[in-house]
Amino acid sequence: MAQIEQSDKGGKKKKGAQKKMSIHVDFTPMVDMNMLLITFFMLCTTMIKSQTLQIVLPTNENVKKEQQSQAKQSEAITLILDTEYEGDKPKIDGETGKTVHNIYYYEGIADTLFQTSKYLTKEQFIGNVNREAQGIRKILRGKNQQVMAQYETLKNQWKNKEITKEEFDKLAKQNAADSLKTRPVVVIKPGPNTTYEGLINAIDEMNINQISRYSIQLPTSVDTVLLKHYEQTHPGETIIRPLVRKTNNEPANPAQNG
């Protein structure tokens, strides 16, 4: 471990001169132990904390029709979500390695008579390509242009250090909820085969595009009619499929009904 070496060079020494001692301490075991401890701490820690996404849902009590607020037809946009499956697993895109989610959207009130061209359009979550919004983001951004223009100005002000992060957050929030601007009302309808990721992606798009008014609802029979029509006009695509995974609704334990 540690040794004391005597240096006896030359062999000629004056009598009475102190022997020169050099001390070598072998640190190898200490390093070994430290490495082990480091490994332990590295494996046991969470360096990145999870993020959260805030969500506010409406009450699920019955609300009278008079009390319901109606969105303007020109502002409304409905997104029907769907996830593609391969067997019982969500289908993974070979190129990106991400799950394939499809969005079928329509604007305004659904035209179930199919007299206008307001049919469903298929889109995907593509994100940005070369910093340009693509896919569903482009469409939502187009609907929310007024808010986004102001948002970009604020963002530039923040980047140029004209306003602080707190001010920016506050102003951006006010801007997103500015009732003087034309803002869309988005209804997100996750289809029965949608995965949780699909929903999160949709909520994420709302945050990215500064859309303050959106709700999550279950698809109605009108949506099924629209999807059916989409299937008919686009041969080879099937959206209405049996449930891939059913929800585990275990029968109630009889002992609990005491």
Binding site: H24, F27, Q51, T99, F125, Y196, T247
Partner: protein
Amino acid sequence: MGKVKIKRKSTLIDMTAMSDVTVLLLTFFMLTSTFLQKEPTIVYTPSSVSEEKVPMNNVVTVLVSSADKSGKLEDPSTVEGKLFISFTGDADSTLSSENIRGMMLDEAVALYNEQHKNAPIALTAAQKAAFRQTNMFGTSFQHLPDLLTMSVTERDKEQGDLTNPNVGIPINDNKNRDGRLNDFQIWLKAIYNVAQRINNEQREDPSLTEEQRANLSNLYTALMRKGQGIAIKADKDTPFTTVQLVFDNLQTMKLNKFSLMTALKSEDEPTQ
């Protein structure tokens, strides 16, 4: 020609510098680390651009189990959608995680027994103490005493086996049929009641100034004002219908504001 002398060099390497570095690294990891909490199952959360961090204190985490990914089960979806709850209290002593868990347990058991007068459950002091030490649990009220009697290893083993019908908090139906709540709803109600009680107590605390009272930060304010009191953690491949059931129960219990746990991604990243 003189002989070439090969000098005998010592093979000793000076490890001092290496040791210095490792000690530094060790100190860094020791100081920055927060230990991973024990969870019965691993889920991979989807990613979002939201930069809000999961709060460290005053949060109730609801974990929704994912389908089996190991491929060992014949039907991987049988283990999907099992619920687990974990309580994290304040950093300070009186409302620490242990004390919060104790209060939640007392409240929930009282609520349960009120609804199930024919089959009430009773917990011993030892079982309650065991619950205070448990980070995450998922079981029905009927099985709770049994679970808490087990040793820690046995408990972890049972909770980790998702095929066991006793694992997971029952969330059978979301309607208040004959006014009776399901087990998950009882827990939610207990969370709300306890949070409100703590809030009221703190509000009446005479040692606080007016300003402090207005800016109280506890589980109740997190639940009601910020929507950070309940965080749902679900796997990205979990079907929406399974998560929807949890949402629906939260809505029924009037806890409409909550947060969803996600991982971070950048805005430019392709989502698909």
